[in-house]
């Protein structure tokens, strides 16, 4: 959670660029999606997944302490954004940490008493790996027209009756709104997932202009 003096506010889906500088002048920069809902406040939340061989994520998740300063640039993005006025129905598809910008959208929707019909299809390795699991369960059960559909790709709990396996064309055909509903679709996560989902949605008849993508790279971290 960051406090940014003079923060101009943000739109759901936007990200910030974080830059770290070592004592010898060496710099590293990474982009992180803003997970918090747009709000009239100078605070924002980034959710950072620690990558074992990462250069920046171990610093942000282990070394950074309350009171430390970060250099950041943002908010950035005008393409992969959702505002209430854009309406729906919404199809949100996430793989792993790709849930972060979609969480800002869901929080925006919930905070405005959201009624836009929304389906979230969220792929995680296992039940334990689901980010925002409890919050998603809560807002999914609130009866506001949001359906949260999980799929687990590596390990399922013993009593699991949900979906399993990677998101494929068949799963999307089951879960997605029909093209005649003209949904707005946002897909975020590891590049291979984003590209296969986007291609599948277009092959199912959806307008490619209404499928918005944000690739996180090979591991999606």
């Amino acid at each position: 959670m960051l406090t940014v003096p003079g923060w101009p506010g943000h739109r759901a889906g936007q990200h910030v660029d974080v830059r770290l500088t070592a004592e010898d002048g060496y710099q590293a920069q990474r982009s992180y999606s803003i997970a918090s809902a747009p709000a009239a406040s100078n605070q924002l939340t980034l959710t950072v997944e620690r990558l074992d061989d990462g250069e920046v994520s171990p610093y942000l998740t282990e070394e950074l302490r309350a009171g430390d300063q970060l250099e950041l640039r943002g908010p950035i993005g005008g393409y992969f954004v959702w505002d209430l006025e854009m309406g729906g129905p919404l199809l949100l598809v996430a793989g792993g940490s790709g849930i972060c910008p979609l969480m800002a959208m869901l929080r925006r929707r919930a905070g405005a008493g959201g009624s836009v019909l929304t389906r979230l299809l969220y792929s995680s390795r296992s039940w334990e790996d689901i980010i925002y699991r409890e919050e998603l369960a809560q807002i999914g059960a609130a009866g506001t027209g949001l359906q949260v559909i999980h799929t687990l790709t590596r390990a399922v709990p013993p009593d699991w009756r949900g979906r399993a396996g990677r998101i494929d064309r068949k799963m999307l055909a089951d879960v997605a709104w029909p093209p005649t509903d003209h949904p707005l679709m946002y897909v975020c996560g590891p590049t291979p997932l984003v590209e296969s989902v986007a291609d599948a949605l277009v092959s199912l008849g959806h307008d490619s202009e209404r499928v918005k993508t944000e690739r996180f790279g090979p591991t999606g971290g």
Binding site: L20, T21, A28, E55, Y59, L64, D68, E71
Partner: protein, 201 residues
């Protein structure tokens, strides 16, 4: 730039013994996969290597013909313009001197060209005299596609962007003209020992 992120060190940036590293470089242990475009996928049955342009005799090898040429095993340090260096990298390939043996170059410059429309320009001098190879094996294994396989140019005495991945041939030309990265601001020559990174250097 006075802002310092408390406690941030970044990836280990080893220094090597004095004199071994060109100025501004640091040593890395991994081999970053970097490219300007999607990995080309030319099947070996369609792969050819050509010497074209200002030569007496145009020359062409299929993969089988290429594999039949004498090869060399070399170990060299490589230096990327973005400051990382990798020491003692092991390659196997055909020397460019071998490839040029049967052609009479009629010009002093070369445009190396690759699948995926990548090009890089070099002086003929930088490719001859035991300084350059077309390499098909790295660290004892066939060169992986993401690292330029089936074959890449290897010119270790210059910054590594000159070692064109997915190389398909050398075009001899009378005037030095910029290839891909050279067009976008990188140095026409690229000598790491004189830190020739950008076009003004």
């Amino acid at each position: 730039m006075s802002f310092v992120s408390r406690g941030f060190r970044g990836r280990p940036r080893d220094q090597a013994e004095a004199g071994r590293l060109p100025p501004g470089q640091h040593v890395v242990q991994d081999f970053p996969v970097l490219s300007a475009g999607p990995t080309p996928r030319t099947p070996l049955s369609e792969w050819t290597f050509s010497i074209t342009g200002a030569v007496d005799q145009l020359k062409n090898w299929t993969w089988e013909e290429f594999q039949a040429l004498p090869t060399e095993r070399i170990t060299r340090d490589i230096h990327c313009v973005t400051k990382w260096s990798k020491l003692d990298t092991h390659w196997e390939g055909v020397s460019v001197d071998t490839l040029l043996q049967e052609v009479q170059p009629r010009a002093g410059y070369v445009m190396a060209f690759s699948d995926g429309d990548y090009t890089t320009n070099l002086a003929l001098d930088d490719l001859t005299g035991g300084k350059a190879w077309v390499a098909f094996s790295f660290a004892g294994e066939p060169l992986a596609p993401e690292h330029g396989g089936p074959a890449r140019l290897l010119v270790p005495h210059l910054y590594f962007w000159k070692s064109a991945k997915w190389v398909r041939g050398l075009q001899l030309v009378t005037a030095d003209s910029p290839g891909f990265w050279e067009t976008y601001g990188y140095n026409m020559h690229g000598d790491p020992w004189r830190e020739q990174r950008y076009s003004g250097d």
